[in-house]
């Protein structure tokens, strides 16, 4: 696995809707820019060998970093795969839609639910939104949220951005009725 750079973005929100929040609202994203393992190989039918050689290492690289960057217990989480223009979306999906990748984060965050994801093909400098949901109950509405990020020089056509996002709480000033109130 060739990693060109690792970018960490942390966000702290102090006010929302003109009102102070009780404690800073913390969100963190860690992005690894890697060489597409299938670059230059034409259409590869069997992605399993590439997945086996990269996905777990990527999960092990990113999970502790995003937990550390957040600096607080993880309550919501999500993941991302942004494939450079010469690749297939399937390449990015291959690396993040496997337990080999996601279980590192699940374990580090004491989480149980599926990780919501964004997958797309895009040029360098594209913005993308990483969706986050609650780590143990994906129906908890207060924790449905997303964070927008961008790297100016990635992904190159033969690269993939793989990312993890973590939030220490739900949305700032969340005040929607729970799902159960409509059932």
């Amino acid at each position: 696995m060739n990693v060109r750079k690792i970018s960490t973005i942390t966000e702290l929100v102090f006010t929302e809707g003109g009102r102070a929040v009780p404690a800073p609202v913390r969100t963190a994203v860690v992005l690894a820019v890697i060489e597409n393992p299938w670059a230059g190989q034409g259409f590869v039918q069997d992605l399993a060998p590439g997945i086996d050689s990269v996905a777990s290492d990527l999960g092990a690289l990113l999970a502790p970093r995003v937990v550390e960057a957040l600096g607080a217990p993880v309550e919501a989480y999500g993941k991302a795969a942004i494939v450079g223009l010469d690749g297939e979306v399937e390449h990015g999906s291959a690396l993040i839609h496997t337990l080999k990748f996601g279980d590192h984060f699940r374990k580090a965050a004491s989480a149980t639910t599926l990780l919501p994801a964004v997958e797309k093909r895009a040029p360098a400098g594209a913005t993308f939104d990483i969706p986050l949901k609650h780590i143990t109950d994906a129906t908890i509405r207060s924790h449905h949220q997303s964070i927008e990020v961008r790297l100016g020089d990635a992904p190159r056509p033969d690269e993939i951005i793989i990312g993890l996002a973590a939030a220490a709480q739900g949305r700032p000033q969340a005040r929607l009725a729970p799902l159960s109130s409509e059932q």
Binding site: K5, S7, T10, S110
Partner: protein, 282 residues
């Protein structure tokens, strides 16, 4: 001086059973001024789910409010470069930009002649908080080699409003002091809408003309600045550009821009891969 734990809550995780490696930063502080004079990094383990106390500067939203302003959010963007030009980079190459979104104190008040009072009340608090975050990410003032600053003024503000915040002592002097620098600080400024990508130039913190340290880092706050906001940015780098190899003013070949021979007579690229003598291995 005393050691002050920047992050608390390192123990008591046995119940969860899930231990993850984290990097804990211990700051050497001047307890009176709150100045961060150094940071050492200590690899340790923390139980997943262990509560961490926020750094004290992050309570500054209240302090800024008490000073008559509003701090809405802070975004920190850190790039760690591992490969450049296809080759592995030697040493730690980490560039960090920290951006604070504050309400423009002068929007809606017409032409305000004296900008100093609002800046003096707010800028030092914001600058100190941003410096804290930068040093946390960089690993301490001793790791910082280059620095820069920037401002984006929301659409209803004046360029002068941004200048007031970053070109007066209340912001730059705090960054220079916290990073133990002496140079004038490289900067960029713009007026723009929310989501403007901010390219922050940086140069060496004690020797601004050092060419190897000319570099920049980008940061972007998707929802800021609003029309009545300012985004204030401070940035640091822990190294020169990876694989810097363009010499310096002391090593440049003679070049005279008034000499017609200076134009169009170059022999182009004669380099071969063996010219790449900078460190690193494939």
């Amino acid at each position: 001086m005393l050691f002050w734990p920047g992050i608390a809550g390192l123990c008591c995780g046995a119940l969860t059973g899930a231990w993850v490696p984290v990097s804990v930063l211990w700051h050497t502080r001047d307890p009176l001024a709150g100045r961060i004079t150094g940071t050492r990094e200590k690899r340790t383990h923390m139980a997943a789910g262990t509560a961490l106390a926020p750094a004290p500067e992050l309570d500054l939203a209240r302090a800024v409010q008490a000073a008559g302003a509003v701090l809405r959010k802070v975004v920190v963007h850190e790039d760690e470069v591992l490969r450049e030009g296809g080759l592995v980079v030697d040493g730690l190459v980490r560039r960090v930009a920290a951006a604070a979104v504050i309400r423009n104190p002068w929007v809606g008040r017409g032409h305000v002649a004296d900008l100093a009072p609002a800046v003096a009340a707010t800028a030092p608090l914001v600058a100190r908080a941003l410096a804290h975050l930068l040093l946390d990410a960089a690993g301490g003032a001793h790791r910082v080699e280059a620095f820069g600053k920037a401002v984006v003024v929301g659409l209803d503000g004046e360029a002068e409003h941004g200048a007031a915040f970053i070109h007066t002592p209340y912001f730059g002097d705090v960054l220079r002091w916290a990073t133990e620098g002496t140079s004038i600080i490289a900067f960029s400024e713009a007026r723009g809408d929310a989501g403007e990508t901010i390219t922050v130039p940086m140069w060496h913190k004690t020797a601004a003309a050092t060419r190897s340290h000319y570099q920049s880092v980008q940061v972007r706050v998707p929802d800021a600045p609003r029309r009545d906001e300012l985004v204030l940015v401070a940035a640091v780098s822990t190294s020169a550009r990876p694989r810097a190899r363009i010499g310096d003013r002391t090593t440049d070949a003679p070049f005279d821009p008034s000499d017609p021979a200076a134009y169009g007579h170059g022999n182009g690229d004669t380099g071969t891969s063996s010219d790449s003598t900078a460190g690193g291995a494939a």
